[in-house]
Symmetry: C2
Subunit: 168 residues, 2 copies
């Protein structure tokens, strides 16, 4: 199963309740509701996605699927201390909204930056970067991830080495 | 000043710092960062937007502007008890992510629904609806609002009457 298919499955796997029978019949004329209980968490290190993360446990909590607005999806991602993504790019960009804790992010050409609750990062299309927790703190961010014309939202690359992660 | 222009001004008014000199020169090759301190809150009832809300104080806290991803923008909106939007539609839809408190939302054809922290609502394109706090509780939601080809993200309609709001 590809990453994109797994992600799509995860985000659409929960039951959804809708405002009335029109929506149930397929016509998007009403609001669609979901509660946290309807969107199961995914422990990344117990999933096929684990190959794209390193350094510690990561949990993904879906918020809304790309199927709604077509152009983007939403998910909370929580990194335990030391955990980080691989290097990667986003074909349609990504917004990172830091909800709690302290983390790092860095582009291939840039310096490692510390990010905290309230910080927002825009990762432009195709810019190689990584993000994760610091060594001593967990970090949760909400990611709003663009989806391109082919339904693709990420291109995974090599792991972030300990040397790159620690910035030493 | 139109609502859209005000919103755009608000969301782009804060200074932004960027990862390196390339971004400062206009090439989107690096991440863009903002902190909460760089995104001033807007007290709706002291702004031209007040005509589109009623029943109490509303505060808007920008998260990210539509200029980044082109297709959507992000903002927290906090409603004091009793406060609500006018009826309105979104030409490119909107996701509502309830962060805290207890609120209501309702479509023109539907029942009033209670929403709480962890709930997510997808408001499809063109569906007439409103949202706000309950009578007894404040409510904060993060809205991810789609922007259409003409740069438009909302069509404001008539106020929600007290009878409609209370559901009686």
């Amino acid at each position: 199963m590809t990453t994109n298919k797994l992600f799509a499955l995860l985000l659409t796997g929960g039951a959804l309740i809708t405002g009335n029978a029109f929506a149930a019949a397929g016509a998007a004329v009403e609001q669609t509701f979901s509660t946290a209980e309807m969107r199961p968490s995914l422990t990344i290190n117990k999933s096929p996605l684990k190959q794209y993360f390193s350094g510690g446990e990561v949990r993904l909590d879906p918020v809304y699927p790309a199927s709604d607005a077509k152009t983007h999806s939403g998910a909370y991602v929580t990194f335990e201390p030391g955990a980080r993504t691989n290097w990667h790019t986003h074909p349609a960009g990504q917004h990172i909204i830091v909800i709690s804790g302290v983390g790092y992010t860095q582009t291939w050409q840039g310096e490692r930056r510390t990010i905290k609750a309230g910080d927002v990062v825009w990762c432009p299309i195709g810019v190689k970067h990584w993000h994760g927790a610091t060594e001593q703190h967990a970090m949760t961010h909400l990611v709003i991830t663009g989806v391109d014309d082919q339904g693709k939202n990420v291109e995974w690359l090599e792991p972030v080495t300990d040397k790159q992660y620690t910035g030493k």
